[in-house]
Symmetry: C2
Subunit: 192 residues, 2 copies
């Protein structure tokens, strides 16, 4: 299957597009190839593109203060990869995007994608469904996990919804954090 057709095939799984819309989508994406180990994004750059992988595998990772690599995502063909936060905010990325194999991708820039949403509203529907599904999946993954540190989650909660402690029973907040009410009391005492 030609590269463009793969992209159209996957979009068509969720929204049904006409041949006119198909032509508009195809002309908006650019085909690029990269050799194994080639970087498509480095920290400090804005992630200009979202990539649909038609061949090969890619990863995103960041390097912490101690020089350790942490892999964020690994995607194979027919998957999307980007630093979505940088892509949508146009702020500098902290990530590397690297080809793990020789890859072929279809890429589109943020501004081109915004324009394409106007031309083909069904594409915006496709991305609404894609993000919705991805969000549900990641919620489930989060729900199935424990945080490495209850303190970190506690801090997030205080920052994001500080009046929650005045309004919601502590036993509920503890359950939400995945810790016992006693642990929550200890954290709160330490912080105050």
């Amino acid at each position: 299957m030609p590269h463009n057709h793969k992209l159209i095939y996957y979009i068509n799984k969720w929204v049904s597009i006409t041949s006119d819309e198909e032509a508009k989508i195809i002309s908006a994406f650019e085909l690029k190839s990269a050799a194994k180990k080639e970087l498509m994004l480095e920290p400090g750059e804005v992630c200009e593109y979202i990539y649909f992988i038609t061949k090969g595998a890619m990863r995103s990772y960041f390097v912490d203060d101690k020089g350790n690599e942490h892999i964020f995502q690994i995607r194979l063909e027919n998957g999307w990869i980007s630093d979505l936060e940088s892509f949508f905010t146009q702020r500098k990325s902290n990530y590397y995007l690297e080809a793990l194999e020789d890859v072929e991708v279809l890429r589109i820039s943020s501004s081109r994608l915004e324009a394409l949403y106007e031309e083909v509203p069904k594409l915006e529907r496709y991305f609404r469904i894609l993000f919705q599904k991805a969000y549900i999946n990641s919620l489930e993954r989060l729900n199935a996990t424990m945080w490495d540190s209850a303190i970190e989650r506690y801090n997030d909660l205080v920052k994001e919804q500080s009046d929650i402690f005045q309004r919601v029973p502590l036993v509920y907040i503890a359950s939400y954090l995945g810790i016992t009410p006693e642990s929550l009391s200890r954290i709160r005492k330490k912080k105050s």
Copy 2:
């Protein structure tokens, strides 16, 4: 601010809607109130609605085999709550949705929302942006956490992308799982 106006205010932060579109949105949502502790969803039911909270606080939770409650989400006013998976798939939910305080919500059903997307495409844009942001946030939360069990993540990976092991260096997969290559070897030996 009247309830409807709060909803419009928050939608307008992301997409700019006309007064005609505003009227269409307002007429599609129903205002409901619920007393503290009232349930809006129970396991075995399909989650028919997505709720925009205009007053009060709500939580979603499930009860495990041992009878322990696990809170999934807590949301205050101007936030959205639902069991999104059940809402979008129309499959039975595993969750409870409960009012933590006396609440007022604006609710819309799945089919009405789909119809409203056709009438007001900008609302679909709003939800595309909402899910996109929520997905990015949850990715970051996931990235900042460790799994309670590397084995569980390993099993997920095998199920979802089994040929990843033939194509991606084990040291990368270990980093993705947040474990050492040695731990990954041990898991793989145990499983084979």
